[in-house]
Amino acid sequence: MTVYVLRRLAQTLLVLFVTSALVFGGLFLVGDPVEILVNPNADQAEKLRAAAALGLDRSVLEQYWIFLRGAFTGDLGRSFVFGRPALDVILERMPATLEIAFLAMLISVCLGIPLGLYAGLRPADPLSKTIMAGSILGFSLPTFWVGLLLIILFAVELGWLPSTGRGPTVEFLGLQLSILHWEGLRYALLPATNLALFKLSLIVRLTRAQVREQSLLDYIKFARAKGLPRSRVIGVHLMKNIMIPLVTVIGLELGSVIAFAIVTETIFAWPGMGKLVIDSIFQLDRPVVVTYLLVTVFMFIFINLVVDILYSVLDPRVRLSEAKG
């Protein structure tokens, strides 16, 4: 187990290195940050000054070397735009993204698994057919459009929930979280729902497919032949088996929800990492973009590791030492 985790960490470092090189090179090709950052009224002298101040007057290889040297001491560079360490800028925004991502996954899981279970156990029921039709809608409607629809319905027309922004926060374990505060939760509800819709549909469909597949298997029939109550057959025998593929998908989807909350954050003016990174890309704020991607890659790898460990907890057939990285 320890060897396994160490090996994964080594792989992580390699992936982080490659990512940083790609992003560095990629952003260098996109354009010159000075052109975007300086005031248009600035003359050539000011452009040269800005380039020198931001270290952009050096060759790209030199800049990358400076970045790598810093990265080994934990310094991922200073944001061009904010003038602060890029990691600080991202970590400051991270709780906002994490909280709607988790809230969205919570909604998806808490609604998706029961709905999928129902639709899988009673495929012919009209309610099941409604659930499945709804899940197709959830899949196919564009996030952007649904987001605006939610705002117009719940904020403009009904006036139940705030339209945009983040509400008051509460400090918890050093993080500023808004969902632990009732008023803050009201702000988070619409963006989280918007974010959850696609994942919810995915989990409903996946759960249903798993239920349909697993319930035909002999072990379910044997469990019933033993005289187990239905609740135990479904709640323990069926659930434990469908949880294995579900945990994998939920883990990966959690990663993707965190990394790609950009559209939702933009529509709901939610001050998370996604909105930050979009602004940073447009402003060619390379330290922030590079750091964001590194943080994201790291997070994906971390979630994968957690999923693998969970997997081995759920499925006795898997032992981590045998698992391939």
Partner: protein, 522 residues
């Protein structure tokens, strides 16, 4: 587990008791730094002007008015004297004096890591001295008439802060001590900035006890927030929503023509092999037709500016015939927008030796100006109709400006906001010959060059007498546009603010959103 309610006020009700009302404003662009000398960016400057003040400032039509300076004059061509306001106090109670200004001017060029320095506004001042508590003297190397205009962007700090504070101290709020009508209260990066009224303000009493700026970049969401009542006022109302909002009884719209022109720039530098100029078959053309003023004039005639302003901009644009709307300083009365005249365009093309036209690619940013890509598409259609088949290539501004500055384009659409409020700004940056040493032609991405025009611009930039300078600038505009066609103006953007019924705002040409200018009642 310890729970600490940090921001109980965030959820405060929208309407409080009279005299203690809150104003919530939806901004279109995020504020990136609170340090007023770190990143020269419209939203940053707009916020800074609530907390800090400047010696001079612009009124809503960008005419100079007194700020912390009550009056100013030139003693000779290179010496300026500013009389400062008495009785202005810092938020911590200390008195504002000339020493504060001197210290501020020292800080401006030295802010570390600044991506867009404010030093461009202080560079002309070679020496600043405080004669007494309320008299300042500035010396410049050359006559520099724009000094009072430039310092509308220099936010004055108390001496102690100017000498010691770092950018972090502003972001944390510690150093946010100004003389302005509002005091800093809270900043949540990317989400909101909250200000409270400064009751000891020397000027008119602030109308709002609290001002909350919320950053809502998505324009549809910003409109929804206004309609939902979550914000009281928004800036940059999207053109598509204007007809609907104009009919909405809950909303008032105000608009003003801005200092930003949308224009077409040509490769007038290369004689041969301009990268995106082709013959009608799409083969590269050896000679560069864009160097011929008749061709540029033909392009100008081929464009129906009225149609673009009314259909694409929903009326939120004013067809342009020069570099700034006529109300601005240094404009000419003799430069109406070019009339739509496709026949005339064809004739000019024939005269220039291109009776069959040629092919072009118009490069444009797609996230910088209002409807930028759509305008480019329309221009391309008009040109294609006039015999110049034109393709459009749109890209994010991050890519566009880098490539443009490397002269990778032949024909481009861009915009220019005249910060100083006079035509010297676009003339100097867009049309003067590119010259790094002199700092001229910095945004001249077509490398247009005309010695006569350069001479006019240089003269204007050293003419202190406003009347004379105005006439020279008007003449330079006429030469640059009507005679040389150095660039083709398309339109001036109109900026629109939306607010709930019962509020009023004097729409500004410089596009700033100032909460202290928002009033209740008609």
């Amino acid at each position: 587990m310890r729970f600490r309610i940090l921001l109980a006020a965030a959820a405060a009700t929208v309407s409080l008791a009279a005299g203690a009302a809150e104003l919530v404003v939806g901004l279109s662009t995020p504020i990136t730094s609170l340090d007023p000398h770190f990143h020269n960016l419209t939203p940053n400057n707009s916020l800074a002007k609530h907390v800090f003040e400047t010696l001079t400032r612009n009124d809503e039509q960008q005419r100079l008015v007194p700020g912390l300076a009550e009056s100013w004059r030139t003693l000779d061509a290179t010496t300026w004297e500013f009389k400062l306001r008495k009785g202005a106090r810092w938020h911590d109670g200390a008195e504002f004096t000339a020493e504060d200004v001197v210290a501020t001017l020292k800080r401006v060029p030295l802010v570390p890591n600044s991506p867009a320095s404010f030093a461009i506004y202080t560079r002309a001042i070679k020496e600043a001295s405080a004669l007494d508590k309320h008299t300042l003297r500035f010396r410049t190397d050359k006559p520099y008439p724009l000094l009072p205009n430039d310092i509308t962007s220099v936010h004055i700090l108390p001496k102690k802060i100017a000498e010691n504070a770092k950018t972090e101290d502003f972001n944390s709020g510690k150093a946010m001590i100004g003389t302005g009508p509002y005091r800093f209260s809270e900043h949540v990066s990317g989400d909101r900035v909250v200000l409270v009224s400064n009751d000891k303000y020397w000027g008119p009493k602030p109308a709002w006890s609290t001002v909350r700026f919320k950053m809502i970049s998505n324009s549809a969401a910003r409109v929804a927030a206004l309609l939902a009542g979550d914000v009281h006022m928004i800036e940059s109302v999207p053109t598509a929503d204007i007809p609907k909002l104009a009919k909405d009884a809950r909303v008032t719209l105000v608009s003003a023509v801005s200092n930003r022109i949308i224009y077409l720039h040509f490769d007038s530098g290369r004689e041969k092999n301009s990268p995106f100029v082709t013959d009608k078959a799409g083969k590269p053309l050896e000679t560069n037709p864009l160097r011929d003023p008749r061709v540029r004039k033909a392009i100008s005639k081929a464009i129906d500016r009225e149609a673009i302003a009314s259909r694409i901009m929903e009326g939120q644009a004013q067809p342009a015939g020069q570099l700034l709307p006529e109300t601005f300083f240094g404009t000419s009365k003799r430069l109406p927008p070019e009339k739509y005249d496709p026949e005339g365009a064809r004739k000019l093309l024939a005269q220039a030796g291109y009776p069959d036209g040629f092919g072009l690619t118009l490069h444009t940013p797609n996230n910088r100006y209002i409807n930028d890509e759509k305008i480019a598409q329309a221009v391309a259609q008009f040109l294609t109709r006039a015999g110049i088949p034109t393709k459009v290539e749109a890209m994010p501004s991050a890519v566009f400006f880098s490539r443009g500055s490397k002269l990778e384009f032949s024909f481009l659409l861009a915009g220019w906001g005249a910060e100083t409020g006079e035509t010297s700004s676009p003339l100097r940056s867009l049309l003067a010959t590119f010259d790094t040493a002199q700092g001229m032609g910095g945004a001249n991405r077509g490398r247009f060059s005309d010695a006569g025009l350069d001479a006019l611009i240089s003269t204007a930039l050293t003419t202190i007498d406003d009347t004379k300078r105005g006439l020279i600038l008007a003449a330079a505009s006429e030469k640059a546009i009507a005679e040389l066609q150095g660039l083709v103006p398309v339109h001036y953007e109109i900026s629109t603010w939306g607010m709930k019924k019962g509020l009023s705002y004097k729409a500004r040409a410089d596009q700033y959103t100032f909460a202290f200018e928002v009033r209740t009642g008609r």
